[in-house]
Symmetry: C2
Subunit: 562 residues, 2 copies
C-alpha cells in the first residue's frame, strides 16, 4: 500500500486571532450598540442608556486588554473568568482573551456566589472580570477563591472597592499594538460549565478550531443567515455557551451587533429591535413569551412596533411550542427559527430551516418549524436504542441522540463524566442525554431529556410533546409534564400547569378532549395540578427534578381510562 | 510559563467523506441535471440530451466507483485522473475518488495530447477516466504514459476500443456498501495543474481540509450565497480548479446542480438557465459575452428568456469589464458578481459583494463590482513592494498581491516553483504574481499580472484598467494592452483591438479622447493595432506573451504626447 499523499496546502491554524484581525481591518466602522445600566430609578431598577461603539474600537481595546493581561502575568492556557452581561466590553473579552492564547471562561451570572466560587476554583481561574452590577459578589468570591489573583470591574462602582482594578482605566494604560503569539488550533480558546442539573457542573473547553468552524457553519442562509448587512441582537447571554457563538459568527461576517444587557423584558427588547433595525435576534422561549405579550399589547393599543427588518427570531435552549411559533407568524408576521444545541456542542447542532417547496405558513411548515431542525454541515447525529443499537431515521422511532463533530466535546475538563462519551464502531460519540426522532429528510425532534422521559408499561411517553400541546390551550400559560409512580404501569404522566392571568382552570375531561386528537389514549396525563409558577434554573429551563420531588408522593385521584 | 491548555473538543477530521455522507442521507431526492452529448447532427456537432439524476443516485454510484477502483488496486494517495466535462459522472468522481483516500486529478481537456501525457506522467496517475468525446486521445496518451495502468471511458463509444473499461458497466458490478477508510484531513483529496503560461505546468494538491473549509467559506450570503433552495449551474469547468469548488459547496448545502457539458454557447446556456430555473451560475467573462449576445438577440426578437430566478452570475478567471457588468444589469436586470482566485488558492480568495448602503446600480456600486472584491473569512491578503515591504491598503497604491490561508498552496507537487512562496515575518505567503490595490474597506482590485504590467519611466501602468476602459467603446469587442519597448521610457502601452462586427476602426485621436477622462495622460497607449482575434489559452485567458512576441519589434508610428 502506498503511503497517504499529503497535500501542498499551507498549515494555517484556525484561530480567534483571525476573527479579530478581520473586524479590525475590514469592518472597522461597523457599529456595536450596547444597552448599559446607568444608575437606578426611584424603584431601584436599573436605567437603560445606549452606548455606541464600533468593531474598530472594540478590536483596538481587545488588543489593549491583551497587553494589560500579559502585564498581569496572564499567559497561554491561563483561565480568565468573566461574570458579565452582553455588552461591548464583554465582546472585547471575547476577542482579546483568546487572541493572546488565554482561555475566556464565561461564568453564569445567575448562579449563587457559592456556586460561582466552586466553578472558579475548579477552573483554577487566575483573573476574574466582573460587571459592576455584580460587584456585590466580589468579597464572598475572593474569600472562597484563594488562587484568584486579580479582580477587574467593568463599569463604574458607586463606592471604591479595595484591591480591584477598573477595566477602562486598566486598558487605557496599554497600547493596541499587540504581537499575536503563534497558536495551535486545538488549544483552548474558551470554557463554559454545564448547568449541572445533576451533580456538579462540568467544564467544556472550546478550541480555536471549534470556534472558527462553528462560526463558519452558523453563517449560511440555511443556518442563521448572517451577513454584513445584518444587525444581530443576541439576547441569549454571552455568559453561557458563547451566546450560541453569535459574537464570533457576526464578527466573521461583519454584522452589526446589538446587546441589551440586563434589559431583556418585552418592552426593552421590542424597543431595541425597532430602534436598531435588527434583522436577526436570538433567545430562549421565555424571552419570546415576554416579547409576544408586548407586541400583542402594542398592537391592541394601536401603536404597533415597526419590525419589518426582523427576518428571524432564533429560538433554542428549550423547545418553542408550535402555538408560540404560530402566534408570532400569524399575529405579527415574524418567523421563529429553532436551533438546537448544548454546552457540549458549542452549541449549534441543528437549525430548522424549511426545505424548498414547503411554505412557512402551511401546517407542514409549522410542524417542521416546531422540530429542532437539520444538522449543520460536519455535524453527525445518530439515534441509539437503550441496548446501544443504531435506530432508523424514520420520523417516529425514538432513540438516544448521539452527536459527533469537530465542535462537540470529547470529554469534560479534568476527565470528568466519561460515561457521556461512547465509542461506536471505533468512533467517539457524545451522548446528549436527549431522546429524539430524526425523519427521512434529517429533521430532528427532541422528545425529551432521557431522565424526564415517562416510561409507562414499557413504552416511552414524551413529556415535551404533551407540554407543547397543552400550551396551545387558551387557559394555559406554561405546562410541565412529569412522571408519577404507578403500581401497574410503573410511571404515568402528570400535567403541572400555570394558568394565563384571569383564566379558569380547565377540567381533566376538557384537557383530555383537547389533547385526544393528537395522541394515543395511553399518552394522556392521568391528572393535572395547577401551580403559581414552575421552578426555573440558571439557564432558563424548567427544573423538572424539583417538580418530581414536589409531587413524589402524588397519586392520581381517579383511575384514568387507558 | 504554563503549557498551552488543549481543548476538550473531538478530533474529527474535515473530509470529503462527510460531504458525500451528507448528500447521501439528507439530500437524496435533490436533482442533478446534466446536458449530455448524444450523437452528432448532420453538421457533425454534438446533439444535447437532458439527463436527470439525484444526489442519492450520484452518491450511491460514487461508492460503487470507490469499490471498483479499490478492486483495480487503487489505494490511498494514488492519483486517478479525469479528462471530462461537467456532468453527473464527473460529480461521482468528485465524491468517490477522494472518499476512498485516492486523489482526484482533473486534467484540462483543452490541452494537446502531448501536454496531457506530460502531466499524467508528472503526476504518476495510475488510472485515467475519460469522457467518450475525448476517446480519440487515448491511443496517443497510452503510448506516452507507460505507468498508466487503467483507462475507463465515461459514456458509450461509437466503436469498441481495446483495453479500456466502460465506466457504467464497471461500477454496476460493485456494491454501494463501502467502508470509508480513516483519513487525516491534511491528506491530498484533489490535484490540479496550473495553466503553465510560463514554463511547465505545476501541480497543486488540495487537501480534504482545504476542500471542506473552502466550501464552508464559499456558501454564506456575502460570498456565493448557496443554500438548499438554490439551483446552481457551474459553467466553469470541473476539469480546472474544481469548478471553483462549486460541486462541493453545492453538495454541502444541498443545492440542485445543473451541468451543461460541452454546451456552453449563449443559446444553450440561456435555455438551461430558463428551463431549470437556475438561481446561481458561474463562468468566465467570455461565457457571459456569449450569453449577453443571446439575451440581447432574444429581447430584440420580442422573445426574451424568463430568468427571474437568476440571482447572480459569478464571474472569475479574468476580470469582467465594468461595461459588461452594466450591460447585464441595465438591459437584463442580472447581477454579475466578481470572484477572484487561482489554481493555487483552491480558488476562491475574494468575492465582490457590495457593503450595506451601496446600491447595485449606483456609480459607486458598479465601480465596486468591477473590483475583485473582499477576502472571504480566513483568507489573508497583503500587498508588497518590489523590495518586499508591506504597502498600504489605500485603494491606489499598487503592490504584489500575497495570499495566506488554509486553502492556499505552500508549495507545488515535487517541490517545484519555490520562488513563489515567501516568508514574511516568519509566516509563509504565496506570491500570486498579480499586481493589485486594496482599499480601506478591503476591496481588492487586480491591476495586472506582474509580468503584463507596463513599466513606463519607472512608473507602473495597469494594462487591465486600460483594457476594461477600451472595451466600453462601442466599436471595440475585445482589447489587450501590452508593453512595447521604448528607447526613452523603457516600455510604453500598445492597444491591440478586436472590433465589433461591422464596426469601423476608431482613430488614435478618438480613442485617446475616449480614455482621457479616466486616466493620467502618460497612461494612454502610444498606438493601436486591430487584429481579427486575440490568442486565447486553455483556461480561456488572453495569451499576452504571444501578443508581445508578435509585436516585439513594434514601434509606434507617431511620438505620443506625454
Amino acid at each position: 500500500m502506498s503511503l497517504p499523499l499529503l497535500s501542498t496546502m499551507m498549515d494555517v491554524p484556525l484561530t480567534v486571532q483571525s476573527i479579530l484581525e478581520r473586524v479590525r481591518t475590514l469592518y472597522r466602522e461597523r457599529e456595536i450598540v450596547s444597552l448599559m445600566a446607568s444608575g437606578k430609578d426611584e424603584a431601584g431598577n436599573p436605567v437603560p442608556r445606549v452606548h455606541r461603539s464600533t468593531y474598530g474600537q472594540v478590536a483596538d481595546r481587545a488588543l489593549q486588554l491583551a497587553n494589560a493581561l500579559a502585564s498581569l502575568g496572564v499567559t497561554q492556557g491561563d483561565r480568565v473568568a468573566t461574570l458579565a452581561v452582553n455588552s461591548y466590553r464583554h465582546l472585547e473579552c471575547y476577542f482579546g482573551i483568546p487572541a493572546m492564547g488565554a482561555v475566556l471562561h464565561t461564568v453564569n451570572i445567575r448562579l449563587h456566589p457559592d456556586q460561582v466560587a466552586w466553578i472558579l476554583n475548579h477552573a483554577e481561574d487566575r483573573v476574574l472580570i466582573v460587571e459592576n452590577l455584580f460587584a456585590g459578589m466580589i468579597p464572598a468570591i475572593r474569600a472562597a477563591c484563594p488562587a484568584l489573583e486579580t479582580v477587574i470591574v467593568m463599569g463604574p462602582l458607586p463606592a471604591p472597592l479595595e484591591g480591584v482594578l477598573d477595566y477602562d482605566s486598566l486598558i487605557a494604560d496599554f497600547s493596541d499594538d499587540f504581537q499575536y503569539p503563534d497558536l495551535d488550533e486545538s488549544q483552548a480558546a474558551a470554557m463554559c460549565y454545564t448547568s449541572g442539573t445533576t451533580g456538579n457542573p462540568k467544564g467544556v473547553l472550546y478550541s480555536h478550531r471549534s470556534t472558527v468552524l462553528h462560526s463558519l457553519v452558523s453563517a449560511p442562509k440555511d443556518a442563521l443567515n448572517v451577513g454584513e448587512a445584518d444587525t444581530v441582537m443576541a439576547i441569549v447571554p454571552m455568559f453561557h455557551v458563547n451566546a450560541w457563538g453569535l459574537p464570533y459568527t457576526c464578527a466573521l461576517a461583519g454584522a452589526k451587533q446589538v446587546f441589551c444587557g440586563v434589559f431583556s423584558d418585552g418592552h426593552n427588547v421590542a424597543k431595541m429591535l425597532e430602534q436598531e433595525r435588527v434583522s436577526i435576534t436570538a433567545g430562549v422561549p421565555t424571552i419570546w413569551m415576554g416579547l409576544l405579550g408586548e407586541l400583542d399589547r402594542a398592537q391592541e393599543a394601536g401603536t404597533p412596533y415597526d419590525l419589518h427588518r426582523l427576518q428571524s427570531l432564533i429560538v433554542g435552549g428549550s423547545a418553542a411550542p408550535e402555538a408560540q411559533i404560530r402566534a408570532f407568524q400569524t399575529r405579527h408576521h415574524l418567523t421563529l427559527k429553532h436551533a438546537w444545541g448544548m454546552t457540549e456542542t458549542h452549541p449549534i447542532g441543528t437549525v430548522s430551516t424549511l426545505p424548498p417547496g414547503v411554505s412557512l405558513t402551511s401546517d407542514e411548515g409549522f410542524a417542521l418549524q416546531a422540530k429542532q431542525g437539520r444538522a449543520v454541515p460536519m455535524m453527525g447525529l445518530a439515534l441509539l436504542s437503550d441496548e446501544g443499537e443504531p435506530l432508523p431515521h424514520d420520523g417516529h422511532t425514538m432513540g438516544r441522540l448521539m452527536a459527533r463533530s469537530p465542535w462537540v466535546a470529547a470529554s469534560y475538563f479534568k476527565g470528568e463524566g466519561q460515561s457521556n462519551f461512547i465509542y461506536i464502531g471505533g468512533q467517539l460519540w457524545f451522548d446528549t442525554g436527549d431522546i429524539a426522532t430524526i425523519d427521512g429528510r434529517g429533521y430532528m425532534h427532541i422528545q425529551d431529556r432521557s431522565k424526564d422521559l415517562i416510561k409507562s408499561g414499557g413504552e416511552w411517553i414524551s413529556s415535551v410533546d404533551l407540554e407543547n400541546a397543552l400550551m396551545a390551550h387558551p387557559a394555559v400559560a406554561q405546562a410541565a409534564v412529569i412522571a408519577i409512580s404507578d403500581p401497574k404501569w410503573d410511571e404515568r404522566p402528570l400535567g403541572v400547569l400555570v394558568l394565563r392571568p384571569g383564566a379558569d382552570a380547565p377540567g381533566h375531561a376538557e384537557l383530555s378532549a383537547f389533547l385526544a386528537p393528537k395522541f394515543a389514549k395511553w399518552w394522556l396525563p392521568d391528572a393535572y395540578e395547577v401551580v403559581l409558577a414552575l421552578p426555573i434554573g440558571a439557564t432558563g429551563k424548567f427544573l423538572k427534578r424539583e417538580l418530581r420531588d414536589q409531587f413524589t408522593a402524588y397519586r392520581a385521584a381517579g383511575t384514568a381510562e387507558r
